[in-house]
Structure formats: C-alpha cells, structure tokens
Subunit: 441 residues, 2 copies
C-alpha cells in the first residue's frame, strides 16, 4: 500500500550495453530464500542459479575431498550461487509489474535531511533534483551515503575494520564446452594463511578468488614469480585456468580490500532506516551477506505488522531486535575467514565435523552444527552463536571425560593382563600419547 | 627549524570577551609533564594548576575516606588539575615568542587534499582561503575534520563507540571564601551503576560531574525529583552545592554523550598525521586523554630524530609504534569507567590495592600497580597492560596457594589440638569460610 520510489546510482541494467562492476559471487540460502518466498519470487530466482551441494577441498597434491554442508541428504539444493546480473534483471521485471513503484537509475545521492525527509540527488541530466519521503530506507552498501548523515549525529556507534587480506579474481574458462571442474561445489584450496576458492557461473566458467595478505600480494610482481607461486601452492589449478589467462587476470587490478562494518542504531528518528550492507557489511567467508540483508526485510516486515506500520515504533524496535543478530553474523563471518583457510586442514576439525553430524543424527534438536543453524534455518544469528558455544562446551567436556576414562580403563586392562614379555616400552607409549595430541583443541 | 602555521576553529582566546565551551577538567600527570618539560614549560604550566594527592571516596552516610594514588610519599604532586583557559593562554604566549610560528584563529577547515597538501579554510572574514603544507598535523579532536579525508580512503580502520552513560556538570561554590571541601583531592561518590566526581578550580569552586545512564537521566524531570534523587544518593553534596544552584545547573543542558574513538593508521601518505583526540578519543575515567595526546608529540619527536625528519619514513613508523599504545589506553579508560563507580566500593579491591602497594614496597621493580605505571611512568601503555595482566595472574595464584595452605594448616592444627569440648560446629565453620568469599576474585 505504500508508494515506493527506488533510487540507484548505477545506470539501468536493462538498457546498459556493458555491465560495470564485478560478477560478485552471491550465495542464496534459507534466510534469503524465505524472504524471496514471501514476495513470491523464490522459485523464479532459484531456477536461475546453480545449486551447491558441498565444499570440495583441493589438497596440495591435487587430491579432491568433498565436505558436505549438512548431514547427508538433509536439505538440497543446499545453497544456490546466484549469477548477477541475471537475477537482478528478473527481479526488476517483477518490480515493474507494481503500479505504485517508481524506478530511478543514474541518480547519485548527495545529501538528505532527517528533519524534512528531503533527499538531494544528482540526476542523469547533470541537474540536482529534490525528492521528499516519509521513510528513507538506505540500502546503499558498505560505503553507504545515507549512513553519512548518521555519523554526524551523537550516540551513533560505528566501526569499519579492514582485514589484512585482499583478494584477486581469476576466470577459469570452460573445457570442451563444459565446466572445467565439478560444478555444484564450492571449491577450496586452503593453505592456512591464504586460500583460493572457485564458484561456478551459468556460462560454465568458474570465478576463482585468491584471498591472501596484502604483503604477500606485493611480493608477486612478475609473471614468472606468479607461476612459481601457483606451482608451489595451487599446481592443479594452472592447467585449468591457463598460464596466459592467469598472468593476464592476476595483474589486471591491484588486490581489493575487504571491509567489515558494524553500526547501531539502524534508524534515525522516524525517518530513516539502514538495511543490508549499509547496516552490516561483512567479510564474504560465510556466504551470508546477501541472506542477512534479505532477512532484514523479513524482520522489518514482521515488526511493521506487529506495530501497525507506525514508523515511530517500528524503527527503534527494528534496531533493538536486529542489530545484535547482524553483529553476531559479522563476527561469525570473521571466524569462518580463519576456519575456511586453516581449520579445514586440521584432523580435529574434520573429526568434530563428523562427530557433530553423528550427534545431530542422534539428537536432532539438541546438537545442531553451527553451519546448519546459520545456513539452513532462521534461528536468530545471536541465538545460534549462544547455542553453538554451549554445544562446544558440552562436546569438548564429553571428549575429555571419554578420553580420561579410556586411558584409565586402558591402563587398568594393561595392568591386569600385562604380557610377561616383551615389557612395556614406556618411551614408545609416551610417543603414542603425544601423537594423540591432535585430538586436543 | 620548521615553519609552523596553527589553524584553530575557535576565536583567539587572548581577545575573547566570553570564553565559549565548558571548563573541562584536564588532568596533567607524568607523561604530559615530560612533554611540557621537553619544550621547557613544565614548571610554568604546573604552577597554574592544583596538585591532586589522592582520591576521596564519599560513602552514602557522608563518610570520606582517601585512597592514595600511589605508595605513600612516592611522587607528589601526583597529578595536577589544569584550569583551562589559563594554561592555554600561558602556552599561547610561549608560542608567540617563536618567529617561525604563525597563529590563525577563527579558521574552519572545510577540506584538504592528500595529493597537494592544500587545505581550504573558511576564514574570519567569511572568505575561503587556501593554505599549502608539506605536513598536516591533525589535532582537531574527537570529531576531527582532518580525519574525514582518511575515512574516504580504503584500508583505514575506524570505530566510534558511545557509552550508555551521559554526564552533567554542576558547580559547587566557595564557602566562606574558601573551598567547600578539601582541595587537592579527586572527590568520588561511587554508586555502582553511576557516580559523581568533583575537581577543584583555581577560583575555589568545585566542578562536580555526574555520570549516569541516559535512561536514568530521563527519569529526572522536575526539581523535586532531582532533590529526592540527591537526598537518596549524594545527601552530603546538597548543602555544599545548594538546592537552588543544583536545580538550575542540572536542567541547564541535556546530559552530554561520551565517545570513544579508535583508528589506524594515524598517517596518510607522507602528508598527514593525526594526534591527540583526533587519533584516539577516550572516555575521561583515567585522566589520560590529554597526557596520551602530549605523549604522542614526544613519541613523534623521538621518531623524527631516529629517521632524520624524513616524513615518508617517520609517519608509517609513528602509526606502527603509537597506535597499539593508544588503543590499550582507550581500553584501560573504559575499564576504569567500571572501577571508579563500582570496584572502589568492594573490599577485595581495597585489599588488593593495599597488597599491591605492599608488594611494590618489597619488590619495587617487579610488582608495580597499574595506576602507577600509567600515571607516574612512561612505560608504554600496551606494555603496562601486559605487565598488569601478568601481575594479576601471579598475585591471584599466590593468594589461592596461601589460602589453601592456610586452610590445610588450620585443619591440621585443629585436628591435632582439637579441644575435647565443645565439639566443632561444622555449620558455623562453613559459614565463616563462605564469609571469606569476598577474597575470591
């Protein structure tokens, strides 16, 4: 029932000859799908993407091992890799069907007033144009212009943090007209302090993204150094990407920075509210950025119903309810930044993954892997974190008790049925205990 | 040897009829004094302030108990409460004596260019004026305009956090021509979730500052509610401030917010560096804000000598060396925000204060109270925090071992020399052990 005007800085993608910007890898999972479902476009959007079933870990030797996202056969397709701009085009066509919606492209927001709700735009004709609104919803990304007005006010908490890693994108072309690697997988080359990932596109290419500390990027200055680096760390990817394409793509642009933005509150007076990356930009390692943004809309909609669309009540409630969840998700994305590039190499991590899955099978309501809660449910993000910390405590304690009892029982049996000869080699026993060290956290 | 031009937004304090802004309580301690000493104005500035010897804790009943800042007779005057604007005037007169220094007041910085070093000011005549510099030193406070240019660049980490408490200032007039309470003390009324402090001024008044959650300020809307609140929590202060003055000052302005700013790096290219509150605004509870800012100058000067005044080398080194120290100090100030209003009420805190002092007397180089390291030495802030955490671990463990041995020894003696009659009352013994609970951390 509201009249909606959309203002976008970029030009109209429906008329554009060349689409500017990068083909960002967007992962759509349960939360995002629920939001799309609510407006009746879930199936349409999902059908344009590529379903992802598991992670595929590439070891140094080139061996590939899949790690499923959830328990076997639980939910599938588990998540969908969207191929911007196809879905954006699809969504715009849906918007056009609403008579109370106006689309304005090539409009750059210069400033806006919280008192009057007047926004000043720099239009496509070069002239300034004012537009007045009862409610301004700022969904203008990590470097939000809407948010600047918030920063001028007192009692607005804000942080922007750049991680020490940058990224570079490489394209892996199709091979014999088909995907060069198995599609339907998030391919990962974890190398502890850095990693490469690859996600499939609808045109049968893969977009490979290399995440690495900026200082390591700076060490690679020539094509030969680059090839030597790939030979050492990602040998299986060289024939798939191609030596020439690798050299061309790598030096095309400098490594790009990754920022993490948190703020609170999300609203100003009864006039403006921030959503999506403008409110909570996160590092991309959990594939939740777009999903959290779409869920913002769902949560906002729920609160709008609850408070009869009274902005003066809805906006503060949205800040109160939603900010702790988004903050928790931003921190989890940072945590996954470490998990993806190093934990997946650890035997304890794989053992815990297996154990958590088994416990989830036995007690599906008590032990739920964190990834499952985040990706396949609408459990509030901050509650998922609390539940996860509790589970970790219980499982770690259980392992310790089990370990201690096993050792004690083993010692008892050893003492009771000790062989006459040969005698126990204490040193060897000790070495075996040490080798079990990887079981410790 | 450098030509220095100073630009200040406010008008020239030497010509001003009315000095705008608040009479902020500025505490000058060792670090700030060292910086002043370096430029030969320490004694001049210190002589204009009021020396502080201890904290004076006001209990609910009106009882006053001093808590000295360091070990008895260690350093005095321990810190000096500056009476802005007298010292600013004194400092300006010193600056005037340098022929290579130019002072520009009523100049508002609009923007500046990192490429050319051109700053654009709005001058006192209303016209815009450009000024070019090789090095721009931004010391323009917590809401720094210089810093805005940093925020537009990639890889600049920044956070601003408002604490839930606001503050209101009240004036306690002189009594019979003299201070109404003992001067040379930082008076504190700690009330756990809120507190009032009072610091003396050279005109024999006290400036009282009430720190309290905003939501509690909002509950006090009438003069009667205010008096009832003071009767309940600060009864001894009412006759000293006066009922009418209290009602007048309290409602003069809304409660003011307190912000905490961290950022990194402090420099941009070889062109600009941030210092003082512009780089690290902190909550005022450790009295280190100005001292940290003055120490920035000392550290910068040391690095300038080390790198032969080569800005391209000096600026990154300053960011690298200084930011971790300022960040540690910002966090300590937040910690003291809790210590001042609640820990000083705890018996364990007072016991530890006494114990730390005693241990410091026995081992003056091994156990140094945190407050001493921060306020009376130039130990790097972040090293002081590491040292403090180590000391806490050692002392807490020592107390546990001592406690356990005492209990064991006591039990042994009890068993050995147990009286025939009356028998041990186990329940009473247990209650006594529980009463010792406050010894635990």
């Amino acid at each position: 029932g509201f009249d909606v005007a959309l203002f976008e800085y970029r030009e109209d993608i429906r008329c554009a000859k060349v689409v500017k910007g990068r083909s960002i890898n967007l992962a759509l999972s349960h939360r995002g799908r629920q939001a799309l479902k609510h407006i009746g476009i879930e199936e349409k959007i999902v059908s344009m993407g590529i379903p992802m079933r598991a992670r595929m870990i590439h070891s140094l030797s080139g061996k590939c091992s899949p790690i499923p996202y959830g328990r076997k056969g639980q939910v599938k397709p588990l998540f969908v890799k969207l191929a911007n701009p196809y879905q954006v085009l699809g969504a715009l066509k849906m918007v056009e069907t609403y008579p109370n919606t106006e689309l304005n492209f090539s409009h750059k927001l210069l400033d806006w007033s919280p008192e009057t709700g007047t926004m000043t735009f720099h239009g496509p004709d070069g002239a300034e144009r004012d537009f007045e609104a009862d409610l301004i919803v700022g969904c203008d990304g990590a470097f939000s212009t809407t948010r600047k007005q918030f920063l001028r006010r007192s009692r607005f908490d804000y942080s922007q943090t750049y991680i020490p890693h940058g990224y570079i994108e490489l394209t892996m072309p199709p091979r014999n007209g088909d995907f060069a690697m198995e599609p339907n997988f998030l391919h990962i080359w974890p190398r502890n302090t850095f990693m490469m990932i690859a996600l499939p596109n609808v045109d049968k290419t893969f977009t490979c993204t290399l995440f690495m500390p900026f200082e390591d990027f700076e060490k690679i200055t020539t094509g030969d150094e680059l090839i030597a680096f790939f030979q050492k760390h990602f040998p299986d990817s060289i024939p798939l990407i191609g030596v020439e394409a690798l050299k061309r793509d790598f030096f095309l642009l400098p490594a790009q920075a990754l920022v993490w933005v948190k703020c609170s509150p999300y609203h100003m007076l009864d006039r403006c509210v921030l959503m999506g990356d403008a409110a909570h930009a996160m590092v991309p390692f959990y594939g939740q950025g777009m999903n959290a943004g779409f869920e913002d809309c769902l949560v906002f909609n729920e609160i709008m119903d609850q408070f009869n669309e009274d902005f003066a009540a809805v906006l503060p409630e949205f800040s109160r309810v939603r900010a702790p969840d988004d903050h928790a998700m931003c921190e989890l994305a940072m945590y996954n930044y470490i998990e993806m590039r190093s934990h997946v190499n650890s035997r304890y991590f794989l053992f815990r993954k297996y154990l958590d899955g088994a416990l989830n099978y036995i007690m599906p309501k008590t032990i739920i892997p964190l990834y499952t809660m985040i990706t396949f449910t609408r459990t509030r993000y901050h509650e998922a974190v609390i539940q996860w910390q509790w589970q970790n405590k219980v499982i770690t304690r259980g392992l310790w008790i089990f370990g201690t009892m096993s050792v004690a029982g083993g010692a008892y049996l050893l003492m009771k049925y000790r062989p006459k000869t040969p005698p126990i080699n204490v040193e060897e026993l000790w070495n075996r205990v040490l080798a079990l060290g990887w079981l410790r956290k």
